[in-house]
Amino acid sequence: MLIAWMNEIGARVKGLFLRRERDAEFDAELRAHFEMLVEDYRARRIGEAEARRMAHVRLGGAQQIKEAHREQRGLPMLDTLWQDLRYGFRQLRGSPGFTVVAVLTIALGIGVNAGIFSILDALALRPIVVGARQTVVSFYPIFQGKRHRNVHGSSSMFSYPEYEAYRDQNHVFSGLAGYVPFVEATVGGERPAQINGTLASCNYFDVLNERPVLGRGFVEADCATAGASAVVVVSNECWQNELGADPEIVGKTISLNHTALTIVGVAPAGFEGTEIAPSAFWAPITMQRELVPDLININDADLSWMSVLGSLRPGVSLEQVRAELAVITARTQVKYPGTMKVSVQKAMLFNRPEERGIILTVGAVVLCAVGLVLLIACANIANLLLARAAARRREIAVRLAMGASRGRLIRQLLTGSILLALIGGTLGTLISFVSFDGLVRIVIAHLPPGAPPFALHLAPDARVLAYSLLLTVLTGIAFGLAPALQSSREDVNTALKDEGGDAARRSARTGKLRNVLVSGQVAVCMILLLAAGLLLRGLYKAQTIDPGFEMKGLDSVTFRLVRQGYTEAQAAALHQQMRERLAALPGVDGVAEARNIPLGDEHWQTEAQVPGGANRQVSYNRVSPDFFAMMGIPIVRGRDFTDGDVQSSARVVIVTEAVAREFWPGEDPLGKSLMSFGEGNPLLEVVGVAKDAQVDHLGEGHPNFLYFPTDLKGESQDDFIVRSTLGDAATLDEIQSAMHALDPQLSFVAARVEDNVSNFRAFSRIVVAASGTLAGLALLLAAIGVYGLVSYAVSRRIREIGIRMALGADGRDVMKLIFGQALRPVVIGALIGVVCCAGVSRIFSSLLFGVSPLDPIAFVLVPAFLICVAGLACYVPARRAMRVDPMVALRYE
């Protein structure tokens, strides 16, 4: 039976061709049949005319038989699809005005959606491509249960010994590279510059198949001995911009973090690593101590700091990789058995779960928002279609009367809608492909100066295309389904009989649908507007928020001496000199130290507990004794740190009021003990309570925060805060020249403390600008929808209005009538929108800087604003109704 079926389908496909010949052949066959019938009747001595008539009856309707035969011959589905498409095209060509408006609306909606999705795709969905169109595999550890692990960067990373074990023991990769991204380095020279680079295993370029275009690149020997091979590969970009595109660059040296490195290669153009921040150089990972003499011990087997990328052997599946890596993991994790699993996937720009979680969540929210705008646009087009359907009801009634089935009509109308959506969607997708890469570049170029460098290259791929196509088809169905259902429900009799008779009842039904559409539009628009309104309130709060400490007249000097290649001793000496120089600057009346500047981009966290109590996550800072006075943070109980605390490395701590409340509710925290930095460390004594201040993140309330005194050992890591009476610009100039005079090779940042706040505000400004634009677009579309609804209602009821006015109603009455009916769906929609938004507004509470997600000001003003705009959209067409001349209106058809 299956074979028979396949034969039939094959024959039907063949039947799509040579239609005319096949028609002619069947004609002949049928004619022969007819003639045989006639002969038969003639043989029974029936007259010629009567014989032919009876033969016709016996055979049946020739046209119907031919049609049935034709349907059996080909693929009727395809045939009707083709018919419907042609019908759709004719419809669109017949009303160019409607088509242009609808196509542009859809193009805009789909374009924005496709563009946003292509950003998400580039960030977290698209496997990165290296070398000659090759994908690589990334994996990261997941820890579970109780174990010790040092973390530098993210816990989802490996240690060097772990990397070596995977590299040497696996049989699934043709090569496994390990690397440490985001290594900051100061390029020595006339003007020290900060660049971002990578520490890499020496097979890095071979595994990624990105062999240097100049020089030999790394060889195995470069990674053989720690610190032995001072070589570096620079990126093409770095070679062009920093090194003057010198063709003889290979063999010359470059100073990075005070270490002279020999350039052994220039990476191919366009290859800047596999992370979001472009890498300007790659050094052997064994040069880590020379380049980044941080706290890293390369031989520490329990340190997360490396990412890995492997190129698969031909024919190896991800499943095999998972199995193999699980075996190696079990074999190597002998110290903490069963506490580490490995997760394997194709490498993407972001691989680690904590980053992907954020990106995918934010991406989903943004996609929802732009999807909602598309939905509003759909409602407008649906309304236009409904109006057109009203004009076409006679045609549809005729077709129903001629025997067209309702399903067939719906299919035809839907095909037309999807065709329209496809035209708009294709246009929009093309525009987004062309424009979004540029848009992203512009946005990146306009990020605030403090933002980390990053590069994002959008490249439309099958995934983006599939998403756009799916969205386009859904769009076509979304705006086409309701009008199609509506117009195919035509009552043939009344529609054919006359225009007027039943029109009122009918238009009431369509009117209801149009009202529902407008309600939906207003609801969705309300959600977006309210979200934008809340974010705007958040921004306002951010601009005016009191962080709880003083910023006026305070400047910061930040640097990372040891990371720049100074030895501990050099750093300590330099730090000492810096402090003296700064203190001696004219106008400076105080210098304090802190491990990180309030609201800076470093955040230190640890765990703390009351002895015997539960562990709690706390943020902390190390500060010098005059810090609190200078920042204007009052010590509400107890004492400030003293120089004695610093000199003797006293085990003391100052807690915030929030910590006091949480750790010792209802008790006096002074003199209490606190355990921090893991178990087994000596207890710390609480000597003071500082007033809560937002020193870590702006606008996140008062999380637990501890202050420890600076200690002599790590002193050179501490930044300076300078108070000056000279004014910011002059002070910063002074600081610049003083530091430069001290050590021309020193890379540091001198900035106003206030600038840190503007980094927080800048992000919030970007979010507000984006959401405001989106909400504005939604508002415009919804206003058009309301305008369309009222205009249509007025035009349908011109006669009724005329009668009312002839009977003595004045303009105000008519206005009241129109407004009352038009504003009802608006108000219903607005209410729904308010309720929906109240339900979801909590998701962006972190952007609200303490403004309640149910902020009454936003929740009153925004709906009022929306209703006003809707009222205006009503008023313009309603005014036309008011000016109706009864005489004209009564004659109006």
Binding site: A4, A32, M36, I65
Partner: protein
């Protein structure tokens, strides 16, 4: 509505077409229609034209084949004949039909009535 009835009957009708062709050998559409009317004693009296889409379907399934030839009155007509696949299909359908008929028959037999 007639369409639905035909659908229910389709397997049975296929059996009739195939069996007719087996009995008569290669035959044109008119001959098949006449034969069926005679055998069914005009009980199964359809418009003769409806035969053609059915024949086309059987041909598409490669149960019958067709070629042009001359009729007994020397008229050019298309002749249909059973293929090997068609013979097999006919055997299968006939067996199936006999089983169903036998089963229905048992239900309708006097013994079955008593048992009720």
């Amino acid at each position: 509505m007639t369409e639905r009835k035909a659908e229910v009957l389709q397997g049975t009708l296929d059996l009739i077409w195939l069996k007719t062709l087996e009995t008569m050998g290669p035959m044109h559409g008119y001959g098949i229609a006449r034969r069926i009317e005679q055998v069914s004693q005009e009980l199964l009296s359809l418009n003769q034209g409806t035969l053609y889409p059915a024949l086309l379907r059987l041909e598409q399934r490669k149960w019958i084949s067709s070629s042009w030839g001359a009729s007994e009155n020397n008229r050019k007509a298309k002749f249909y004949s059973l293929t090997r696949a068609g013979k097999k299909q006919l055997a299968a359908e006939a067996k199936n039909w006999e089983q169903i008929a036998a089963m229905i028959g048992r239900f309708l037999a006097p013994g079955a009535e008593r048992a009720r």
